[in-house]
Assembly symmetry: C3
Homo-oligomer: 272 residues x 3
């Protein structure tokens, strides 16, 4: 499953969820947590089945991961029951802080676990390896609020945590989704942030608006230039191997199997 | 307890300690370790009670954390005994490398533990959680000397260790003090370094001179612009919540509970 | 043993190995893994003793660490046997992912262990501490390919992993070798990368070509300016200590024992 984008929208706003079929995101997160104010959650749960039906628009390829409230909250068990009853494809669990939090959900649905607190980062390896986890996400804004720090555009202040989360995900063999960009009209800022995420090994980004979904898909797919260069590199390498060489000088760079592997991954992603 | 600044001064220089009452630091560290040469330590311990009395200047709000020598040194037990007898408010333990080092002090005084070696960074979580620890500090110069590296102004070479230490502190629920700035006449350099420390979640900085204390207090308190923006953001968010919205578009940024929480923290800090 | 440079060359190219005596690297790695294509490995092993003899050129100061294939591959036990029989001084083990991988080599030769996968980074502390390990290296290209990321010249995407590896090495008391630079004609790029490696605490770099060896030796040795400054700093500090001071103001910087220790290390390295 591709996971270049996970688009969030408030679960109490069926009119926004109804726009999902036109967006083309890889997955969607109707949000019962931060997106829905506490006072509106009871009604949102009551209307969830109807809202998810609208979000699918009759299509079978719309993946809906309902974000429930964190373990320990009063809303949590009610959210899980409502999401299961409404036929969600999976759950998004915010503020996961241990493998036990994942088990405590008591669901058979696949889970995208949010690592977005100091404790969550310390426990990242255990969370990513927990049974049922399909992917993790790094929530930079929550992490910064929890540690008492401040966010910058450059993001050096979260580089350790952001790196730790993607490493934990890949060590566990699950996907990794990168932080949101809250500057919702700054497309260049989104592109730069997504570029860094892809460099780090993230598979995609959480998106706050449909316009960010397109930007994410561009950023997490190889460009035509990258694909062309990868194809030429592979051809040159295969020729050299046939001549008994394990490394070649390709356009000024020494190419050996790891570089070849990266080029092959670019071609495979370009075909996807 | 606020800990925006911890001002160091040699414990063998009573004339320098006597200036503490005029400085206004959140805490002070009369230094029996690096600040006092080995040959002068015996005399410094003998004069410590008198020196601390001078450092307080008759005031009850001066917090004195005596820096003792590292566990394993000959000075260590003598320093602890002298600090306790002299009525110190706490101890600063340099080069802590395990939870056992904290226990080995054998004191009931609260401890600020220095994480400033390779092993200390590896054991940061255990050190921060040890009983009696009130705060930890990251010692970049010692860490760089221990790992055989070099310090730069930008500091990317210690970003991992500096991040690890503040994460360990906050996971353990204790305060975190950032590295010293040894360029003692470079105020802009100090401001930039403190800015980064605050972004990372540090509560304050170790200071080498009284002039650095004022710079630290500025850096670790929200500016008037930050406070004003936080107040407007909170007002806008409360209005939206009353209308059933969990997220708002505030001056081009998508605001949800973590952003709100950060704004509330700024207002609270501004009032402190 | 100095380890500022480890020069790789394909083990199936005796004419390249024969150039080693003229290069002056601190150690050399005839490469049976990525440097030798799978189809050429049998022959390379058969000719290894002769090739290593040529690589030594009759000299006793040429250190040859044969890179064998990763644990679990068919080549691995054959490579180890061939390297031992050919009189190698040690082995380079790529893609080490656990302490068990080191033991699985079943050799008495000293080992340079490659940490170059997501799992390897997670297990870095255990790998560096394993019996028989003399040094570790960080393989950024393999790591990036494994995590599904991309390399940049600035390298922020691997800063966490690169920092973790050198910290694990120094905590275990072994040497650390930094990533290769594949842009083989970009000397300035190599210098910048080596500069950062030295700042981080690395002892040297893996080299792909003889020309990189000279650049590495320059980067990992203190410059004349550094040595001169260190000597002046030490003299000033010793004078101050004699006067009962533990810290001094040296050219605008506050100097205390860790800074002194760094200066002493520069002088010692300058003499080496």
């Amino acid at each position: 499953m591709l996971l270049r984008s996970l688009l969030f929208a408030p679960a109490n706003r069926p009119e926004l969820l109804a726009k999902f079929p036109g967006v083309g995101a890889d997955a969607y997160a109707p949000d019962l947590e931060d997106g829905t104010p506490p006072a509106a959650r009871e009604a949102a749960r009551a209307g969830l089945a109807e809202a998810l039906k609208g979000a699918r628009g009759g299509r079978s390829d719309i993946k809906l991961f309902v974000r429930v409230n964190a373990i320990g909250s009063e809303d949590s068990p009610k959210d899980v029951a409502a999401a299961e009853a409404a036929g969600a494809d999976g759950l998004v669990l915010p503020k996961a802080e241990s493998a036990g939090d994942i088990a405590a959900l008591g669901t058979r649905l696949p889970i995208i676990a949010g690592i977005e607190s100091v404790r969550g980062v310390v426990e990242a390896n255990a969370i990513a390896k927990a049974a049922g986890v399909l992917a993790v996400y790094f929530g930079a804004e929550d992490f910064a609020a929890d540690i008492g720090g401040r966010r910058t555009k450059e993001g050096l202040e979260v580089l350790y945590a952001r790196s730790q989360v993607v490493i934990a995900a890949k060590a566990a063999g699950v996907k990794a989704l990168d932080q949101v960009v809250i500057d919702i009209r700054d497309d260049d800022g989104f592109r730069r942030d997504a570029e860094m995420a892809r460099n780090l090994g993230y598979d995609g980004k959480m998106c706050l608006l449909p316009r960010q979904v397109g930007l994410a898909h561009e950023a997490f797919a190889p460009s035509a230039t990258e694909i062309d260069r990868a194809a030429r590199l592979i051809a040159a390498y295969e020729k050299a191997t046939a001549e008994g060489k394990g490394t070649i000088d390709f356009e000024g760079r020494m190419v050996d199997p790891p570089i070849l592997k990266a080029a092959q991954a670019i071609l495979a992603a370009g075909r996807a």
